[in-house]
């Protein structure tokens, strides 16, 4: 839906019509109109684009940074591990919202800065997960065995460690997209994310605050959409985790017979 916003959307999101402002949901405007007379359904559709874009890009970049550092730290251990993990701890010491807020506050408003702030907050999650799983994989016989037939560290990390830590990382990534969408919406809601004129769910909610009692649909629809999309990612992540658990359980059971 996010991809086809341009085709599906009944109106142009820039189209303002002050005669039509604050219309309740009707057959013309399925979700009503906002204070500038823009169609909320259209806005929500374009907003989906922004939110999902932010979610995917932030998670992908954080994943790349976090997994690289986490695997290096876990695999080599020693002082490298100490440095990377203390760094991670330091970033984790800030409650994520505060760190993101502070960074956007000093960098200034805007989509790019907000994404940068979210990446700075999010990579630590992946670093931690990747390091923990790597430590686990490192003790496994197959790592030692392939080292013992002469494999280099790089080979072992790419061919053995990465494939074996990827499932928890992917689960985290799926849940992470939901979290990033929530956080991005939160920042925009506080007026610190994207520019208010951009169609973004959080920003729409912010704009609707003033009309919460008179025109609640201004907030309700973007809010519901945030919730549904986050719910979808969480649900998918849970399902992924259950599926992986299940697979392990079945093989365990079959192993017994």
């Amino acid at each position: 839906m996010a991809i086809f916003a341009g085709i599906l959307a009944p109106y142009d999101y820039t189209e303002k019509n002050l005669q039509n402002r604050l219309q309740p949901p009707s057959s013309d405007h399925l979700f009503g109109t906002d204070h500038l007379g823009r169609d909320i359904l259209t806005m929500v559709m374009y907003g989906a684009r922004t939110s999902l874009f932010v979610g995917f890009v932030v998670v992908c970049i954080s994943l790349a940074i976090g997994v690289t550092l986490g695997v290096l730290a876990g695999y080599y251990g020693g002082w490298l591990d100490e440095i990377i993990m203390r760094l991670t701890d330091s970033f984790l010491a800030f409650p994520s919202m505060f760190l993101a807020l502070a960074i956007t506050a000093f960098l200034g408003q805007g989509l790019k800065n907000m994404m940068l702030a979210l990446i700075i907050v999010e990579w630590t999650v992946f670093a931690r997960i990747a390091r923990g799983s790597t430590l686990d994989v490192k003790t496994k016989g197959y790592v030692r065995a392939s080292r013992w037939i002469g494999a280099s560290n790089g080979y072992v990390m790419i061919k053995h460690v990465l494939p074996n830590i990827i499932s928890p990382v992917l689960i985290m990534a799926t849940l992470g997209i939901g979290n990033v969408i929530l956080a991005a919406a939160g920042l925009s809601f506080l007026g610190l994310g994207v520019q208010p004129s951009t169609p973004e769910w959080g920003a729409m909610l912010d704009a609707g605050r003033t009309y919460v009692t008179t025109a609640p649909w201004l907030m309700l629809f973007p809010g519901l959409f945030i919730m549904t999309s986050v719910l979808a990612f969480n649900y998918f992540g849970d399902g992924l985790r259950d599926a992986l658990d299940q697979k392990m359980k079945y093989t365990e059971l079959e192993g017994r017979f």
Partner: protein, 316 residues
């Protein structure tokens, strides 16, 4: 063992503290433009050349970066975070006041979260794959996915606008509990959802352990098996969950306090950013980070202490 762990954790704390102070300090430098100009920019956008110059000298901004940092650190270490440009009040005192309010709210929210999460999490695990479990899991999923601002407004509409039970927003001088109820519920239910999921999986994990089967094999009734053998072990991880929830509560406080007009630290940060009071932002962020770090340190120690296996030395 506990002592050694304590010392090791405390040693880890040191580089982290230095690093977070450094990060907070360099926040000003990541901003495009001259820090003095940024600091002295009034909300209207203009600034006074003389004031900027005075600020630059007063704060030693003409000196090299590391000297500035060391100077700043020297002050920060004794609780001197500077003065707000806006109100000219001590940043540290303002932050401390705000944090006290946040703490009250968080404690109430945490209590709400625990009261909801523990029984539901345990019941959900015990009634695994039944309607009860499905309902609990769906509720938790909903709670995790619900943006707190949406929930906040829904609650305001319901409790304040439609049935007029509770005030929509405000602070009530920090004593009137009715102002606290709505924000605490919003914060509490959110973290209850996270906690519940963790308690459920921890409980499921324990119920699958062999010693549970042993206890059944001894002829213990299911009630005793659950209460004495399972619950005790399942609830130890809850300590870590509380640590995590504190992070969640602090994060949530930013939005929730802003909506409900509760003068806590989240509200303070947002207002300071909007009014370009950078000194205040820097101070609050550093303060929250240190507090959060210490809480997690404490939680870790308690966790180890509650775990007899780590508490005692294996070799003795």
């Amino acid at each position: 063992m506990l002592k050694e762990y304590f010392i090791r954790r405390a040693l880890y704390l040191l580089p982290v503290l230095i690093f977070i102070s450094f990060m907070s300090f360099s926040l000003i430098y990541i901003a495009p433009g001259d820090p003095a100009e940024i600091m002295m920019t009034s909300p209207s956008g203009g600034y006074d050349e003389a004031a900027v110059e005075a600020f630059r000298i007063a704060h030693g901004l003409d000196q090299p970066f590391y000297i500035q940092y060391l100077n700043w650190l020297k002050h920060a270490a004794v609780g001197d975070f500077g003065y707000s440009y806006m109100s000219e009040q001590s940043v540290f005192e303002t932050v401390l006041d705000a944090f006290r309010n946040t703490l009250t709210l968080s404690v109430l929210a945490l209590a709400i979260a625990l009261v909801i999460a523990i029984p539901l999490g345990v019941v959900s695990a015990l009634k695994r794959n039944t309607v009860v479990d499905d309902a609990c899991r769906f509720g938790a999923l909903l709670g995790v996915s619900m943006p707190n601002f949406l929930q906040a407004y829904l609650m305001i509409i319901l409790f304040s606008v439609i049935i007029h039970w509770l005030p929509a927003s405000g602070f009530g001088h920090g004593t009137d509990i009715s102002y606290m109820i709505l924000p605490a519920i919003v914060l509490g239910t959110g973290s209850a959802a996270i906690m519940m999921r963790m308690i459920r999986s921890s409980m499921l994990d324990v119920m699958g352990k062999e010693y549970i089967q042993t206890a059944r094999g001894k002829g213990m009734s299911e009630k005793i098996v659950i209460i004495r053998h399972a619950l005790k072990n399942a609830l130890v991880p809850v300590i870590t969950v509380i640590g995590l929830s504190i992070g969640f509560l602090l994060n949530g406080s930013v939005v929730v306090e802003t909506i409900f007009g509760w003068s806590g630290i989240g509200n303070l940060v947002v207002n300071s950013i909007l009014s370009h009071d950078y000194m205040m932002v820097q101070g609050s962020v550093l303060f929250v980070a240190i507090i959060f770090l210490l809480i997690n340190f404490f939680v870790d120690i308690v966790y180890v202490w509650a775990n007899p296996e780590i508490r005692y030395d294996r070799n003795s």
